[in-house]
Amino acid sequence: MVTAPLLDVNGLRVSFPGRGRRSRPVEVLHGVDLAVGAGEAHGLVGESGSGKTTIGRAVLGLVEAGGGTIRFGGRDVTRLAGRVGRALAREIQVVFQDPYSSLNPSLTVGDILSEPLVVQGAAPAAARERVRDLLDRVGLPADAAERLPREFSGGQRQRVAIARALAPEPRLIVCDEPVSALDLSTQARVLDLLRDVQRRTGVAYLFISHDLAVVRHMCHRVSVIHRGDIVETGPAGPVTSAPRHPYTRRLMLASPVADPAAQAERRAARRRLAEAERTGTV
């Protein structure tokens, strides 16, 4: 492909004010490069504090970029506010990790879903029609529109969040750990839904996760982030199963396999790697 990627992040730096009045800002991203093509699911894997969520929030415009550029659809969107920022809003959407705090508990599902539509000037009747369509697309019954979020399970709430993200027909959805708060069986079904939606609409995902297995199932390409730096990028299969960077390898060997014999092997391999790292042979 010769065309420019849909999302192109270059040298992104983000700092947060330090704790206390006099402490200096802490830089959490030290110049991150990242590209997501149209229709692609791009995984972003890292541990807590690695800065993976911050990348997502910077792309969404929820945190300010201290340096570098974020280009979307060929246009520089690093510092956009007001009306233009709101126009951007229909192009980039989000699904958060916590299905409980990401839906306003006092609004009905119908109100939650129609909010982005009404903001963009949809007529109430058209919005209602669209809400029914969205609910259908994420596998929720039509009468869900009249109910409050608390009447739904975690997995169903995450479906509502996905429907909300789809409402303005975006070209990119930032998925920030969308399944890590869900039960195992629910998790698989929500991942199926996300894949299905992508196949049908061609929306691109920036898929943030700590779980290599989830990313392997979900993504075409993967970037691994460690302490604010991308250490490895490539096709999902090789990066998650035969990683080149030592950090990714540590990550892979630390993830337990659901099979006692295979896990015993992996544990042994992990100990060997740790031993080798300690003695400096790697």
Partner: protein, 586 residues
């Protein structure tokens, strides 16, 4: 937006209103308040006397004397007329004080809470206002206000506004960082719209409640000032009437009683109504969890083998309608010495409740309906808290899920570990300290002395989990209950913690009951597995058997849901530059 939210908002408000109407406390106090206010409003109809008209014929007149239903005061003024007009003074005071406090407090709270940059300014202004000692200031400013109660109450309203500001600001800060506000921002909502639609509803309840108390304190302060004699004598007021009645107390006590009664009714009804409002708007109040262990039936029967034997354990919680809802139903499991049993299930399966029951730390509202929990043959259910205390730490110990919230933030790591060691073993302070330091070293903490002196917020999550493990194994328990001990940790840390647990188990010959939802963790450390679903154990077996050939459908479904190692996403990205046929316009 208005079209779709209005009916739904109305529904919610109606249900709060209905709760209020069903509450006798609210109905009675509201009726009394309404009655008093209406009496005041009808003053011109109910009396023909001017409240300040002094008639020499009616000085200290008794009740009922010609047209003076409650008699005259010591200046010969009609007490009934003064009472009615005093109500109006109180009502106006409440309205002025409360509305000024609300307007200033709520608007500043919304702005200061939502905009981080403006917050330091509003904080500063309101901490300044709060520094004025209220009543003192009102008195000091008397030369300026001339004592007029309306001006005074307006100033008092300003003095009350910091309280409203704080309530509003706290609510806004709480809501502002919720993900749904971020989502609204991503959807392109303007700040003003987010404030109105997502933030204001959260503020409404607490502010309505505060209003009742603002009215109460405005009335209290106004009458207090009038009692002191602030303001012109021509303003009829409960305070002034009480003051006169107080001086005339020996001569005719009723002159004191009447205004006191009405004022007392007014303020106490406001306080009680405010409390009823709080119950109605905030739903059921947070109930205390309490410390005592729940009552349990003492089971009988032959002691089964094994270190831990749980039999037919059934735990239930009362529902709002008063019935019991079972969360654990007839669970039986056996744990041999030195063995690791994985208790696996999804959220709500009852696995943690089972673990808490063994530890005897179920919340006090939990009811153990039936069953038996035996440790080394000794029945644990029905033991007194003091008897359980003798077992905890020594025979049974606990490693929790969330490392940070399980350490007391106010104590150093060392202090809380030493306290546990001393409680469980009775060791001297120095001996306990030596043991804790050795333990910290054993669980892999690089600088034990330093960790010992640290506060919980100064150490990492992985380190905190090591500290908690050290605390659990300090007295070499026979049984360790680990509730999702690695769920909150990164995978690299998880692997190390699991290694540590495995090593300690062998070293101390502990049995481990490992509660988890993660089959990877089970495969790593467990000898046997028990699978739970909605309060019941559906299948128990060795790890090899469960992973190799599970019998129950539910277990197989769970195992099938695991994202296996070898499947990679196969389909290529769909190049759809115009999703759903919509033309992209900027």
């Amino acid at each position: 937006m208005t079209a779709s939210t209005a009916p739904q908002d109305a529904v919610r408000r109606r249900s709060a209103a209905r709760r209020l109407l069903r509450d006798p406390q609210a109905v009675i106090t509201a009726s009394v308040l309404l009655l008093i206010v209406v009496l005041g409003l009808l003053a011109p109809v109910l009396t023909s006397h001017d409240p300040n008209h002094a008639s020499l014929d009616h000085i200290d007149a008794g009740a009922g004397t010609d047209g003076y239903p409650l008699g005259g005061d010591r200046s010969g003024r009609d007490i009934w007329a003064r009472l009615l007009h005093s109500i109006n003074t109180s009502t106006v005071s409440a309205l002025i004080g409360a509305s000024i406090a609300l307007v200033i407090g709520v608007s500043a709270g919304l702005v200061g809470g939502y905009h981080d940059r403006l917050r330091s300014l509003t904080e500063w202004v309101f901490s300044l206002v709060m520094t004025f000692p209220g009543l003192l200031l009102l008195i000091v400013l008397m030369p300026l206000t001339g004592g007029d109660f309306r001006t005074t109450m307006a100033i008092f309203g300003v003095l009350l506004s910091p309280g409203v500001y704080r309530i509003t600001r706290n609510q806004v800060l709480g809501v502002k960082n919720e993900l749904f506000v971020d989502a609204a921002r991503v959807s392109g909502l303007s700040d003003r719209r987010i404030l109105v639609r997502h933030v204001l509803p959260a503020v409404r309840g607490p502010v309505i409640i505060a209003t009742a108390f603002l009215c109460g304190s405005s009335i209290g302060v106004q009458s207090g000032l009038a009692f002191l004699g602030v303001g012109p004598a021509t303003t009829p007021s409960f305070g002034a009437m009480i003051s006169e009645g107080f001086h005339n107390l020996y001569l005719s006590p009723l002159q004191f009683v009447w205004p006191s009664l009405v004022l007392g009714a007014l303020t106490s009804c406001l306080v009680l109504f405010g409390n009823a409002l709080r119950d109605a708007l905030e739903g059921s109040r947070r109930r205390p969890a309490g410390i005592p262990a729940p009552k349990a039936p003492a089971a009988t029967g032959a002691a089964p083998a094994g270190l831990l034997a749980v039999e037919d354990l059934t735990i239930a919680y009362p529902t709002p309608s008063g019935e019991l809802k079972e969360v654990v139903s007839g669970v039986s499991l056996v744990l041999e010495p030195g063995e690791t049993l994985g208790l696996v299930g999804e959220s709500g399966s009852g696995k943690t409740q089972t673990a808490f029951a063994v530890l005897g730390v179920l919340p006090s509202e939990a009811v153990v309906v039936r069953g038996s929990i035996r440790l080394d043959g000794r029945e644990l259910l029905g033991l007194k808290e003091s008897e359980l205390r003798g077992l905890r730490g020594r025979a049974i110990a606990y490693v929790p899920q969330e490392p940070m919230s399980n350490l007391d933030p106010s104590f150093t790591v060392g202090a809380q570990l030493v306290e546990g060691v001393r409680a469980a073993s009775g060791a001297s302070r120095g001996e306990a300290r030596r043991r804790v330091l050795a333990l910290l070293e054993r669980v892999g903490i690089p600088d034990p002395e330093r960790a010992f002196r640290s506060r919980p917020h100064e150490i990492s999550g992985g380190m905190a989990q090591r500290v908690l493990i050290a605390g659990a194994v300090a007295c070499r328990p026979a049984l360790l209950i680990a509730d999702e001990p690695t769920t909150a940790l990164d995978v690299t840390v998880q692997a190390e913690i699991l290694d540590l647990l495995r090593d300690l188990r062998e070293e101390m010959d502990m049995a481990v009951l490992l509660v988890t939802h993660d089959f990877g963790v089970v495969a790593d450390v467990c000898d046997r597995v028990a699978v739970m679903r909605t309060g019941e154990i559906v299948e128990t077996g060795t790890a090899e058997k469960i992973f190799g050939g599970a019998e129950h459908d539910y277990t197989r479904m769970l195992l099938d849901s695991i994202l296996d190692e070898n499947t990679v996403r196969g389909d290529a990205p769909v190049a759809a530059d115009e999703p759903l046929g919509r033309t992209t316009t900027w």
